[in-house]
Symmetry: C2
Subunit: 157 residues, 2 copies
DNA sequence: TAACAATAGTTGACCTCAACCAGTATCTTG
DNA sequence: CAAGATACTGGTTGAGGTCAACTATTGTTA
């Protein structure tokens, strides 16, 4: 695209429908801003993970592992195809961040757990995200809480 | 249940770092929710445009055309490479939604304008988005204004 | 004015990413 | 044993985006 930014559907739709003289009806504009924000967050997310020498999918995965998880459950959490999980975990494993322990009861499943190194990196990653991602940087605690509440309401989960 | 949704970096990072007993510090969770929401909006956006037999990039483009715009400016608005514009506009043109008028002063540039049909479809698209996209459906006016304000603050433009 | 540089649009080749699908080996369960 | 689930492999596909040329036109400048 323009040569420097990746996009999502609906950025900058702020302009109004041709005839209407009513107020800016943020209907479409909210969607617009949302995508704008998401793009920036994504970009910054990539910068942060890159600085820790993690690929984006690896970082996403790392952030989801807390207790032992099967590959399948991990894939479900990340909403990606299970077949993609293997490669991601391979990468994390190669860096000594996770281990694959076969579950004793059911030796088909391999439980993924963080190593100590993995835990350390997960914590660093969280810290860097908190500092470097614009969602938080530009909002004070109150505003962030507000945004959080609204998002929760919209996403409802 | 892995195989039907497209993802973005960082969904559902809600869990806390292992050791910490402090409060849920929504730091990462906000990012998480944001991506979750964006994914849903994108998905619904695609559904709506599909119902109007528009491809997503076509719909995005349609929403940006209000006055006459050069291909280049359009590409800039959409933050995509100018080379992608051609095909998108081709599609819209084939459906009689836009026209390419060469600018008299500078015959290199082609000005894209909506036809009457194009204006009608743009309006319908806006309406459908307003109704069917979850950002608005689950929030009342006040809440939407709140979200709008916060997004504006974060995105700052 | 003739040569040169720059710009708008277009085309087409290429790359990446992730979903999708099928097949295999291993294991559990009825 | 048959059926089904887990993990892994590998191939295909499609959507996006990047990039390099090429044409036509305009602007600059020696």
């Amino acid at each position: 695209m323009t040569r420097h930014v990746q996009r999502s559907p609906g950025a900058s739709l702020a302009a109004m429908s041709p005839g209407s003289q009513q107020r800016p009806a943020p209907v479409v504009e909210v969607v617009d801003l949302l995508f704008e924000l998401t793009d920036r967050v994504k970009a910054q997310f990539a910068v942060v993970t890159g600085a820790l020498e993690l690929q984006v999918p690896q970082a996403r995965t790392l952030l989801r592992i807390n207790g032992p998880v099967s590959m399948r459950d991990l894939a479900a959490r990340l909403r990606c195809d299970a077949s993609n999980m293997t490669g991601i975990i391979d990468g994390l494993h190669a860096r000594g961040l996770v281990e694959r322990n076969p579950l004793p009861n059911d030796r088909r499943v391999k439980q993924v757990v963080l190593t100590e190194e993995g835990k350390r990196l997960q914590t660093r990653l969280r810290q860097r995200l908190a500092v470097d991602v614009p969602v938080l940087g530009k909002l004070d605690d109150t505003q962030r809480q507000e945004l959080h509440a609204i998002l929760l309401r919209v996403v409802e989960r």
